[in-house]
Assembly symmetry: C2
Homo-oligomer: 221 residues x 2
Amino acid sequence: MVKQTFLNLPKEKRERIIEIAIEEFASKPYTKASLSNIVNRAGIAKGSMYQYFEDKRALFRYLLELAAQEKLAFLKEAEVNSDVNFFETLEKVMLAGFRFNLAHPQLSRIVANAMEGTGEAVIQEFMMSGRKMACEYFMELLKRGQEGGEVSPDVNVRLTANLLNRILGEGLADYILEIMEVDLHEFLTKPEIAQNISEDTIKNIVNEAIRFLRNGLEAQS
Amino acid sequence: MVKQTFLNLPKEKRERIIEIAIEEFASKPYTKASLSNIVNRAGIAKGSMYQYFEDKRALFRYLLELAAQEKLAFLKEAEVNSDVNFFETLEKVMLAGFRFNLAHPQLSRIVANAMEGTGEAVIQEFMMSGRKMACEYFMELLKRGQEGGEVSPDVNVRLTANLLNRILGEGLADYILEIMEVDLHEFLTKPEIAQNISEDTIKNIVNEAIRFLRNGLEAQS
DNA sequence: CAGTCATATGACTACCTGGTCATATTGTAC
DNA sequence: GTACAATATGACCAGGTAGTCATATGACTG
């Protein structure tokens, strides 16, 4: 899908192209994102792009893989160790996802775009498999939590995994946008907004979300 | 935006056009959905469509308004009365949303598509105001719940409202697709799948989700 | 120098889109 | 039947797209 030619490119050029492609695909839905636009902005010929990638889908998919890779790096850094305490693990996963969102708002926007459907079958399959992996991970986590006695045996593991998926993904992202009082466009075009959110703020939000997941909403009687 | 001409149309024709438009916009992202396609399938001339709606956005927006209207009807039917018990209210709202999703899978797909961005400013504004309304409703609900002593005073109302928004929306929808073991396309094109989900199944899922929201995941010690 | 291979190029094609408009058809009232 | 307004029509336009390909430019080898 990515052609060797692209990988042979000098790092600088490669990164410039990718950066511009990310901007394009983050700022509009897949179908509206334009290769002509990208090549013009990057100062390369249309034909060159097709020496680098099979087609539009291949480029987009490359960006998605890049996003996955980057997110995984954040998870690695968080030293997630699924063996220990369930809620601690969940907290680390949430924190890592959060940091990824703030460090790469455009990449995470691209993923969100791809999630709701680009109209390209190959992309949808790719996203579906990613979604499934995430859900299975949460399910595994929940099961172990139940075995360890931390998580109530009553919870429906599959249902909860799906809810966690949306909570950690879009749910938190929505909230951040709301409290920062910026619209999506601002958030994407001014990376300093995301970068300037303090470590404390992030930890606070995560703590509150974890408390919600732990205890629910009901007042303790 | 909708022109009088369209509203003057015989009910039958009007409904046929709308039905086909819904199919088109539900089956592909906004940009890829094609007016030419719709008019061909509906057996009317392209120009006629522009006698009915200002432009593509207007038609799409009309569908969104129709979806909102329909969903509101389900909420009305659920006899949601925000004054009483918080969790009961939440349950009714959840049930109504669920039933709407199953009764109108294509409409709810269109809403989801629109949510993640069509690239049209006017549509985004419309969706954003809808999202805000939903969030504010949940916030109001949560606040009253706290005042009534049902909801823990510790919960971050704004955060929780955002999470509820995603849980009741996409979260449950994801789960349904997973347990039915169908992909989105099947679910949209074969309405009998959604229709055949038993009342018991629905109530069970809602109960489980409510229990999760009530008590959280942690085992009671 | 010549020869060979990887890379770069941008004019070009084929296609499809949203949207328009002069014309034709219909319905209605007198 | 005639006059008038509402509605329907589809050929047409301008604009944009993804993707191609013959040609040009390097860059490296002997």
